[in-house]
């Protein structure tokens, strides 16, 4: 066990490895080109199953240690079977996961010990959009809110700065706040 001031903060994030990756990518930019993948297979009704196992990055095919599977469906209020969360809830899950993971990483780099981090994420949606009843209402969320309760060895300002920096570096936050090209093909 080491006793340096650095090692006393442990949020379980290997910052040295992340900074090392930044260094490596700086020298070899193609290492940074990643592709993330998922499949989605219809089961019945609005129930579908998604499998995630492989991705591409660091110049090679990569794999999670196991295949992950998710059921997606809609609740009974939509006359569906509720075999899983709705796809739009997955988006909230993704945003929370991305921001919370980011907070841990930024806190580690800034030598801030976290004790607890909890986000409550809400997305407001007007169903007139997806039901095709009002062309002025978009299908997606009209407003997404994330509320963090964080207990850490830091001032309130430092905690706010953590949360702000995490948003700045978050892929899902970027995807949700900026337009993204999406192409859907049938093969």
């Amino acid at each position: 066990m080491t006793t340096t001031a650095e090692s006393q903060v442990d949020n379980g994030v290997n910052v040295e490895a992340l900074l090392g990756a930044r260094e490596a990518i700086g020298e070899t930019p193609e290492l940074a080109q990643f592709q993330w993948r998922a499949t989605s297979t219809w089961v019945y009704g609005t129930h579908s199953q998604s499998e995630i196992e492989t991705f591409y990055g660091l110049n090679d095919e990569q794999k999670h240690h196991t295949s992950f599977s998710f059921d997606l469906d809609h609740p009974e209020q939509f006359a569906a079977t509720d075999k899983g969360i709705t796809p739009i809830e997955v988006v909230l899950v993704a945003l929370g996961g991305c921001l919370t993971g980011g907070i841990a990483a930024v806190a580690q780099q800034r030598q801030i010990q976290l004790r607890s981090v909890k986000a409550t994420i809400t997305g407001d949606m007007d169903m007139h959009g997806i039901l095709g009843m009002d062309s002025d209402v978009r299908n997606g969320y009209s407003d997404v809110k994330v509320k963090y309760e964080i207990d850490a060895d830091a001032t309130p300002e430092e905690i706010r700065a953590l949360v702000a920096q995490s948003q700045k570096r978050s892929a899902v936050y970027d995807i949700m706040t900026n337009p993204t090209n999406v192409t859907v093909d049938v093969v």
Partner: protein
């Protein structure tokens, strides 16, 4: 072919500061200038532009400084040009005006500098052609629907020259906020699109914010001593205007009636799309400003300068809901001004000294021994891009250059 120890490219404040340092070291050199001395300050900027730093900060090597009776004022662009021209003549700088450099290449341990007035040979070169020679534009700038006037800041002169009607100012750094302010006051309703920005009050605790940053040593922070120099070098310019006591931040603009909107993310089918990240870019800027003011307060206490109390400013007001799109075909916006930043133009430098994004690679202004650059953001210190930053940077790089020439001379005579 003329042959000198050093060719300095650009006769702005940086090139002339270097010239002065070279003269002090008796290093023969020439300063090549495409136009006149201080060309950009004469021709490039809008009518109302004033220097962002107070007059007392206009100091150059050799004891040259602003001598007027308004040390706390801010020079107009034309006055900056005159100040720099006065420096050139006082120093007797060997400036060759009307000479545009077209290529710089390696040549037998030195450099060949090709210009529209002939070719020079030199053992060392100093790049001082400015950090703002080229407008940075987003890739979708040509997606505008017809009927919209599109201007870069160097095409903009005054609000009166714009068509009547709404104006979208893209970018909220020094250029964007200044233009947004005066255009909105002219009766043309302005929408300002803001990504990350650097918020600062013009005055703090009774003094210019730059007085605090200068006196406390913040502007002298060295590039080797800060955490992330890449990040520091890519910071947007400070939201300041050269006007005594006037802060133009996003709250001031909104109080005037300017509409605040997120970063312009794209234009599709005539519809401008804006990022939903406005609350966070405002939070980042507010937090960063508070950290700066905290640092100033700590220093002020340690220096017994706390006769005026600390101040804190209201967080940036973010409108709710923030609009995410504007239909540019509907006539609400008649003009777009791209205050999206500048970068140096080094396209004539035929040397393998650029990274994959065509940014010059340098270590504190040393590109390679014998090749130097001045005036870029945080080149060696936080103040490197200010007029007041040229003295220390030019002195340090002139010392390196002299050492290089000595080495070259020693080798060739050995």
């Amino acid at each position: 072919m003329p042959n000198v120890s050093t060719v300095v490219i650009g006769a702005g404040h940086c090139g002339l500061a270097m010239s002065r340092c070279l003269t002090d070291r008796s290093i023969d050199h020439v300063v090549l200038e495409r136009g006149e001395v201080a060309q950009s300050w004469r021709t490039r900027w809008w009518d109302s532009l004033r220097l962002l730093t107070p007059n007392w900060m206009s100091r150059l090597p050799g004891g040259y400084a602003y001598q007027g009776d308004d040390p706390d004022g801010y020079l107009a662009a034309r006055e900056v040009a005159d100040l720099i021209a006065g420096y050139a003549s006082q120093c007797g700088a060997p400036v060759q005006v009307g000479t545009t450099v077209t290529a710089v290449q390696h040549d037998d341990g030195g450099y060949l500098i090709q210009t529209d007035q002939g070719t020079w040979r030199a053992r060392s070169v100093v790049l001082a052609s400015g950090a703002c020679s080229m407008q940075v534009l987003p890739p979708f700038v040509d997606q505008l629907p017809p009927g919209i006037t599109s201007l870069t800041p160097d095409q903009y002169r005054s609000p009166q020259a714009l068509p009547e009607g709404g104006v979208l100012v893209v970018g909220a750094s020094a250029t964007g906020i200044q233009i947004a302010d005066e255009v909105h006051r002219s009766g043309r309703p302005v929408t300002i699109a803001s990504g990350e920005h650097v918020r600062l009050p013009r005055t703090y605790r009774g003094r210019d914010i730059l007085w605090w940053m200068d006196t406390s040593g913040l502007l002298d922070e060295d590039y080797t001593e800060i955490d992330d120099v890449r990040r520091a070098r890519s910071l947007p310019s400070m939201q300041l205007v050269g006007s005594p006591g006037r802060t133009i931040d996003l709250n001031a603009l909104q109080a005037l009636g300017v509409r605040l909107i997120g970063r312009l993310a794209g234009i599709r089918d005539g519809i401008a799309q804006f990022s939903g990240s406005l609350p966070n870019v405002c939070a980042l800027a507010d937090l960063k400003m508070v950290r700066l003011l905290d640092a100033i307060d700590i220093w002020a206490a340690s220096a017994d300068l706390d006769e005026t109390p600390a101040e804190r400013f209201a967080p940036t007001l973010v409108p709710a809901p923030v609009p995410l799109s504007i239909d540019l075909r509907k006539g609400e916006i008649r003009t777009i001004i791209w205050a999206t930043g500048f970068q140096p133009d080094m396209s004539w430098l035929d040397l393998p000294v650029f990274d994959r994004k065509q940014r010059l690679i340098h270590d504190g202004g040393v590109v390679t021994p014998g090749l130097y650059v001045l005036g870029l953001p945080f080149l060696r210190r936080r103040k490197s891009s200010l007029i007041d930053g040229a003295a220390a940077d030019a002195a340090a790089l002139a010392a390196h250059l002299a050492g290089h020439l000595d080495g070259v001379t020693a080798r060739s005579s050995a």
